[in-house]
Subunit: 341 residues, 2 copies
DNA sequence: TTGTATGCGTTATCAT
DNA sequence: ATGATAACGCATACAA
């Protein structure tokens, strides 16, 4: 049994295909209430479901949103190991579905190839998270598809940005440690790239130190990657070589987990011997033992807002909106930061 | 500048649209090497990219794979909070992309509505994880689309299943605790539904107890949901009312995290006072403090294999294959199980 | 080997 | 208000 088309509906309802199309799209101005009803009944009874491919072809809009996630270079896999991304996707998907859009999830092979996907699939828009090389962004502008950037500092009015004030977040975290009496504060972080979130958090760290008249020691900055493994390595280094450090700001919760683990392996107690504060407040952080003190941003909401913004852009009513939305930040005190005795 | 179509290519190459189509699909029998080259050159130069919507219409295949994830009932969001799902998706996406398929990620509103999506988008296949009501599965059979089930015990030869031997996993976990000298072993678990993974793990637990001639005490089974929160509640209950329990089998790592947390809040030490073993080995488990002893299944690989199987089904060469693939299981000893003193 | 013509399911234009 | 028909971009059966 083949699946019914609009023509089948038309035939069964004794109207033209055009009428059915009108009815489907709620054009009450083009179709009388009576026939409208009849058509709807037929649709129900023969269980007709419109074909999006055909619709996409005719209307040139796919109701499809792409979302691009950074990818580990070694693995060919999405870095969904970091719960941060899954949580944000969760937020995006919920909102999209609510508005009749679907979500195309994909990594990206080489630099350009994601563009191909956008064109192939006629994407109505896309959400990019993380940071990519320049030409990557340019491509999207060229094919003229609405884009929302999450956690990006690309300053181009073509894009709408959703993010947080990372500098302030870094400042908040560091100041919290300072307020607890710490002065030798280590920073464990991913690669500090120009205009990346990491750089901003790093800047916030420095500002807090400066404001408190504390000495900024570059040796206390452990920069490599936003991974559990780096946290592990840096934590060990600190335990071994820098016993004077009494507090650590890890620029993501995942890094903080690694840090705490190696710290404890080396015989340091958290927070008794050394305090640790993270960043993000992924859902796992409250589950950790001890529960992680961190900078909270509502990740899921971030995704939802990004989706909302994108839909607005697609529907062309973005004029009044600002080009950037910053979500609130707060330190959530749990069990890994302690007053320095 | 509109995006180039197959006709533009044809014109520029001085051939017909058909020739271009042949070239595109590698029909070397239909096109001479010479013109093939010329066409390819033009494609390169004007940067032509085929439209999948049109292709989907013409060929009736979309190169689109759907993946359905359970959804919390209260929230309208995907339960991507459980890293288990993100890891599996990661595995799926990587493999799909490798084969030229794209991934449509979606929750599901009511019972039937996912079917609509499959029809609307002309899905070439879908991967279902978790357990759904009967009619949900029937629908897929009716529209005749290849389906791979992950972690399901639906016994219907229409579907291909990828999973693990959950009964054996439960047995392994419990036996590990028994081998460490424990005899009062609690089970903290999600809802035990007929033919669900949870039931199987529960059965494995009972078998291990029986084999060891240990008394199976229904009071020691704490059944509710596969969530951190339930682990929390059950752990507290055990600490308060069942001091004789010296070991716990939590049927997922997330539950184990909750359990350990409340246990420790109540003053119990893990593993000194009470041992805990989990199930899944999500990436977070090795990061936990103490690192979680658990039953390992390679989650990402599970996703990859599911994707592989689905692609094979789609390409119609599934005859020789078995209808079920079971992945290996092993207990990975870390820091939460200790010999009973 | 190459080109022509037609269909895929839907929407939009233009009559009626 | 309703219907006939031409797009949309591509694949394919058939003719040349």
């Amino acid at each position: 049994m083949k699946k019914p088309t609009i023509k089948d509906v038309a035939k069964a309802a004794g109207v033209s295909a055009a009428a059915v199309s009108y009815a489907l799209n709620g054009r009450t101005d083009k179709v009388s209430g009576e026939t409208m009803e009849r058509i709807m009944e037929v649709i129900e009874s023969i269980n007709y479901i419109p074909d999006f491919s055909a619709r996409s072809l005719a209307k040139n809009q796919s109701k499809l949103i792409g979302i691009v996630i950074p990818q580990t270079e070694s693995h060919k896999q999405l870095i969904l190991e970091n719960p941060f991304y899954s949580e944000i996707i969760s937020g995006i998907e919920g909102k999209l579905r609510e508005h009749g859009y679907h979500l195309l999830l994909s990594g990206v092979n080489q630099g350009e190839s994601y563009l191909d996907l956008s064109v192939q699939r006629n994407l109505d828009g896309a959400i990019l998270m993380g940071i990519y090389p320049e030409p990557f962004y340019d491509g999207f502008k060229k094919i003229n598809i609405p884009i929302v950037l999450i956690d990006s500092y690309i300053n181009d009015s073509y894009f709408k940005r959703i993010g947080i004030d990372d500098e302030y977040g870094g400042y908040l975290a560091t100041r919290h440690l300072i307020n607890q009496g710490h002065s030798n504060i280590g920073l464990i972080t991913g690669a500090i790239r120009k205009d990346g979130v990491v750089e901003k958090r790093f800047l916030g760290y420095k500002r807090a130190m400066r404001e408190a008249n504390l000495f900024y020691n570059p040796d206390y900055v452990f920069e490599e990657s936003m991974s559990y493994e780096h946290g592990l390595a840096a934590g060990k280094l600190i335990a071994d070589k820098y016993p004077e450090i009494t507090a650590i700001f890890a620029t993501s919760d995942l890094v903080a987990f690694g840090t705490m683990r190696s710290l404890m392996s080396e015989g340091k107690r958290v927070p008794e011997d050394i305090s640790v504060i993270g960043f993000d407040d992924i859902s796992m952080s409250k589950m950790f033992i001890p529960p992680l003190t961190t900078i909270r941003q509502s990740i899921t909401e971030k995704g939802a807002i990004a989706a909302d913004s994108l839909i607005q852009m697609i529907q062309g009513r973005t004029e009044l909106d600002e080009k950037e939305i910053l979500l609130p930040l707060e330190v959530v005190e749990r069990g890994t930061v302690k007053f320095k005795s």
